[in-house]
């Protein structure tokens, strides 16, 4: 409840933030603060320096980007959930954002902070991986884009270099006619996902023509359900076919499934099959 002392800097621009981050050993970025401050209050984190990017205007806002959207790092979950552009082009992201935490958390928590924190039980990494989003970062060596699939590298770890900051997330538009869904097994206390499943499914002539399926909450990073996607390819989309495809998800976990006092790794893996099936059913029902 009482964070340790730190030095505070408020950055006015991305360039200044990068400079401050690189000029101060152990410095951390502060955006909405909803990932970092809880850890600092419990003194599980005590960074010597915080660089507040909360006022950096260039990090805010949602804009069209080709057929997709570009979402500034400081965009809150509530803004994403309420964005007409996101709802139209990547509805599954809006759906996931509307399920993060609770209303007050959604008003303050940001997409940039969320992905940089990289909690495997968070909702957005799962959906961004399914969408094939790109995390845009800026650092001393300029800007670069990192595919979501490559961005999350381990438990609370990511592909950012030291001193690099997330500036935006580029989300490709979902193909016309594709159905999408994010379903979540919510932890009753933390509201994080015990298991979260995102599905983007295109159907042509009653047959699945493409599918992107990703599961969160089970492993230390989002799990692409490649076996499910393979089973769906060219498959029918009736209830039995979706159930059969979903059950293949058990083959997609690499043996580092997480467990805790609330849900064991065995249980999470079993639930992944259920939630993937539900996501597929909802996505197919919404498509077309």
């Amino acid at each position: 409840m009482f964070p340790s002392q730190f030095t505070y800097h408020r950055a006015a621009s991305v360039a200044e933030a990068v400079e401050l981050l690189n000029g101060n050993e152990g410095a951390k970025l502060l955006a909405g603060g909803h990932s970092l401050l809880p850890m600092m209050k419990l003194r599980l984190a005590s960074p010597p320096t915080l660089v507040d990017i909360g006022q950096v205007a260039e990090l805010k806002g949602v804009s069209a980007d080709g057929d997709g959207v570009r979402i500034g790092a400081l965009t809150t979950h509530a803004e994403i959930a309420g964005s007409a552009l996101v709802q139209e082009r990547a509805p599954v992201l809006a759906e996931a954002a509307s399920r993060v935490g609770d209303p007050a958390v959604r008003n303050r928590g940001t997409i940039g902070g969320n992905v940089a924190h990289g909690d495997p039980q968070s909702d957005l990494p799962t959906v961004l991986t399914a969408l094939g989003a790109t995390i845009n970062a800026a650092g001393q060596n300029g800007e670069r884009g990192i595919a979501a699939a490559d961005f999350f590298t381990g438990l609370l770890e990511n592909a950012l270099d030291d001193g690099e900051i997330v500036t935006s997330v580029s989300v490709p538009g979902v193909a016309s006619g594709a159905g999408t869904a994010y379903v979540k097994f919510s932890h009753p206390a933390s509201r994080y996902s015990v298991v979260g499943a995102a599905a983007i499914v295109s159907v042509a002539n009653g047959v699945c023509s493409s599918a992107s399926v990703v599961v969160g909450g089970v492993e230390s990073t989002p799990t692409r359900a490649a076996s499910v996607e393979a089973a769906l390819a060219g498959s029918g989309v009736g209830a039995d076919a979706l159930a059969a495809a979903a059950s293949a998800v058990s083959g997609d976990f690499q043996g580092d499934a997480m467990g805790d006092v609330y849900a064991s790794s065995e249980y999470r893996q079993a639930m992944a099959g259920v939630y993937v099936r539900r996501a597929l059913e909802a996505a197919v029902a919404r498509g077309g």
Partner: protein
């Protein structure tokens, strides 16, 4: 104008200050020169303290002082246990406010830092160096009682703090003769009370006068004063304890805590006011918890569906030390209730109070009675199933028939009044029980897991007769007192020794005075929570405040009425025998146009211009009410759940409560108590439970891990009531604070077990988290 509001759901008098954010709670208090304390807590569940070095902490910025247990030697007495159960071979090992050479749970206080700000105090805590030598740990209460388990206290063999037996009839004979017996092992998880306001204390000591003032989040400021005196040595009359607005307690603010003693100690050492407020994570370590029972239980019945016997062996976790009231909870408040709402002629129970390396356990809403009701109601369902009887019908057959003035049960207590079948019938009718069973049959035919559960409950509350309290080892009385004081303008102050903290008694007490004396309810103000301006009282817990303080207020009001009659007779120049009273007016029979109102009387009594011979001035009365018996509210609750077989998720779909708390002063408040109580009872059935790892580290150490009921997880609750007055109470009251909590845990548990019954699942440990249910279903499907 009618002044009557008794029996109507008027809005609460206390709300305006609360809905505007103006009510001061303890942590809102700011005194000139005040400094802040933070407490270093043991990170180990069991360890010897080899050394403590506070020197680095003492030189941190803003630090005023650092104290360890050694500094309290000869200054603070040990923390007292105040419920010493006779005949139980009770052990009360020393419990220092600050641990000296050994810590026994994660959270045991090790040192305290006082600094200019709480932030500075927290910073300095990190500079205290403690060398520990870890010791063996035991958590499960049954395991802790076995030979060879890690020993918490050197002089307490097998960690058994006490052994208490309850018996009536001949249980062994009943089991030998039974047609059917069933048995179960029930685990009541450790629960965290979770009042939304964390505990807090502010202490101020004026050395020149030897006076200590303690603001405290206490449910019982007079007990807190009593025990502060015992622990600090400051004489009781030099201590003032103030419980300002208190943000819920649910039992966890009954005990006298080390933290309050430490805060007072710091203020006395330093001569400046000191504030300590726990963080929520600290609350999860250092505030007493509830339940923690392992219950091995069995029931005997004859083939015609008559219950003939009940036997139990209960291991009740006490945590590392005996908290203030802890021994009374699994004994007097638990074992004596083993007959439940039924005629059970033969009862035998053995309860072991067991030390384990957890946070101390003490009263938590329901305190002992949810643990009893759960085991009884579970056994009733199992027995009905074994006899292939409908559980409602089986209950009806065994319920104690309606009684109005006393019913003896086998455990030796006397229930006051009851009409248990009426609440059962009302609840079944409200829920359309037959319709529910038909719908359940249809759902089962589709393979869906729908369950219906119920509990017919009775509890002991309105604590209670002081003579009985003494006989069962409670180191205090259980009466309450009240002063009713009329001012010259006819407005009224009522001073009570109990200390409501959310239960609405500022309103219900005013309704009592209004009813008794015909004054408008808004003309009555209730004063409580400050030992300097209230009479002695034993506090707010155990569904006792409205009953016991309410009794005192009624009797004080009646004294005022008698005096008023005499004064009215004098003023009206009539004989007192000729004075009649109606709704706040005193008049000579037959001429009520010449009435004196209670306000007239208040003015004349206060100015005292013309008093009858020998009558004292003023209009004020004090009464002490020591109840002749406990009260026994009762009811029937029923829930419908559906279990998702794939995930183990439980959907609580519908809930009906029919409760009888005797006469109701304010039905809106009664209903609110039932809503909140039910939800707190649903908690441990579905979500709540402390989990420790094998090293005694809590795995549910924050609100992110310990799952509390949330708005979006619950249905609306259908509430109804019946009214069976208590025959021995002046107003017929029984109490309602704990009713919902006592009933809801077994109701929901039984509903889930009913849902799983077709699969052959009869038992899953609470809380019924999805994974546990899912495993039980899978084990059953796999022939487990």
């Amino acid at each position: 104008m009618t002044t009557r509001s008794f029996g109507s759901g008027i809005r609460r008098r206390e709300d305006p200050r609360l809905i505007t954010g103006k009510a001061p709670y303890t942590d809102d208090i700011k005194l000139p020169g005040m400094v802040h304390a933070a407490i270093l807590r043991s990170p180990h569940a069991h360890a010897n303290i080899k050394s403590i070095d506070t020197s680095a902490a003492a030189s941190q910025p803003g630090v005023v002082a650092v104290y360890t247990g050694a500094d309290t030697d000869g200054v603070l007495a040990g923390m007292p246990c105040a419920w010493l159960i006779p005949g139980s071979d009770l052990k009360t090992p020393e419990h220092p406010a600050i641990a000296k050479d050994r810590v026994r749970y994660v959270g045991d206080a090790v040192a305290v830092v006082v600094a200019g700000t709480r932030y500075e105090a927290e910073d300095a805590l990190e500079h205290i160096e403690v060398e520990y030598e870890t010791l063996g740990v035991v958590i499960n209460p049954k395991a802790a009682a076995q030979p060879g388990a890690a020993q918490l206290h050197d002089d307490v063999e097998n960690n058994i703090a006490f052994t208490w037996a309850v018996a009536g009839g001949d249980a062994d004979a009943a089991f030998a003769a039974a047609d059917v017996t069933v048995s179960d092992t029930i685990t009541l998880p450790r629960l965290i009370a979770n009042p939304m306001e964390p505990r807090s204390a502010v202490a101020s000591y004026m050395a020149a006068m030897g006076e200590l003032t303690l603001w405290s989040t206490s449910q019982n400021p007079h007990i807190a004063r009593f025990l502060t005196s015992v622990v600090t040595g400051v004489p009781e009359h030099k201590i003032r304890v103030i419980a300002p607005e208190v943000g819920g307690g649910f039992g966890s603010k009954i005990p006298y805590y080390p933290d309050e003693a430490i805060t007072a100690f710091c203020a006395m050492k330093l001569g400046v006011p000191v504030k300590w407020t726990e963080t929520r994570s600290e609350n999860y370590l250092a505030t007493t918890q509830g339940r923690d029972h392992v219950e091995e239980v069995e029931m005997a019945a004859t083939s015609d569906g008559t219950i003939t016997g009940l036997r139990t062996t209960v291991y009740a976790g006490m945590g590392a030390y005996l908290s203030t009231a802890a021994p009374g909870v699994p004994t007097i408040l638990h074992g004596l209730m083993y007959s439940g709402a039924y005629n059970i002629p033969n009862i035998s129970g053995t309860i072991y109070g067991v030390f384990n390396n957890g946070t101390p356990v003490d009263a938590y809403r329901g305190a002992g009675r949810p643990e009893a009701t759960t085991l009884i109601e579970r056994l009733v369902d199992l027995t009905a199933a074994a006899l292939d009887m409908d559980p409602a019908e089986f209950r009806r057959k065994n319920l104690i028939p309606k009684f109005e003035n006393g019913h003896d049960v086998a455990t030796g207590i006397i229930y006051d009044s009851g009409d248990y079948e009426l609440t059962l019938n009302t609840c079944l009718a409200n829920a359309d029980y037959e319709g529910l069973r038909a719908a359940q049959a249809a759902a089962r035919a589709e393979g869906r897991l729908v369950g219906i559960g119920m509990a017919t409950w009775v509890e002991i509350c309105g604590l209670g007769p002081s003579q009985v309290a003494g006989a069962v080892g409670f180191q205090g009385g259980l009466w309450e007192s009240a002063i009713v004081r009329f001012h010259p303008t006819g407005k009224v102050n009522v001073m009570v020794g109990s200390s409501p903290h959310g239960q609405g008694e500022e309103t219900t007490f005013a309704q009592i005075v209004s009813e008794e004396l015909g004054v408008p309810v808004e003309d009555v103000e209730i004063i409580h929570g400050d030992t300097d301006n209230t009479p002695m009282g034993w506090g707010t817990y155990g569904s006792r405040t409205t009953v016991v303080s309410g009794g005192a207020i009624a009797f004080a009001s009646r004294k005022i009425k008698e005096k008023s009659k005499e004064l009215a007779a004098h003023l009206l120049e009539a004989a007192v025998e000729d004075i009649e009273y109606d709704d706040g007016r005193f008049f000579v029979r037959g001429s009520d146009d010449q009435a004196k109102t209670i306000q007239d009387i208040a003015l004349m009594a206060n100015v005292a211009w013309s008093m009858p011979e020998g009558m004292e001035p003023g209009l004020e009365a004090s009464a002490f009410y020591d109840p002749p018996n406990f009260t026994y509210p009762f009811g029937t609750h029923l829930a419908v759940v559906e279990v998702n077989a794939e995930t183990g998720h439980i959907d609580l779909q519908n809930y009906w409560a029919v409760d009888d708390c005797g006469v109701q002063i304010n039905p809106m408040i009664v209903e609110g108590q039932v809503h909140g109580g039910v939800v707190q009872g649903v908690g441990p059935a579905l979500w709540e439970g402390v989990v420790y790892d094998d090293n005694g580290q809590p795995l549910t150490g924050t609100m992110q891990d310990y799952a509390l009921p949330r708005a979006d997880l619950l249905p609306d609750i259908n509430v109804a009531s019946t009214t069976t007055p208590s025959p021995h109470h002046p107003l017929g009251l029984k109490g309602v604070g704990e009713a919902g909590t006592i009933a809801a845990t077994p109701t929901v548990y039984n509903a889930v077990m009913d849902a799983l019954r077709p699969l052959g699942v009869n038992r899953v440990d609470m809380p019924l988290t999805p994974e546990k249910v899912w495993r039980a279903i899978n084990d059953a499907k796999n022939g487990g």
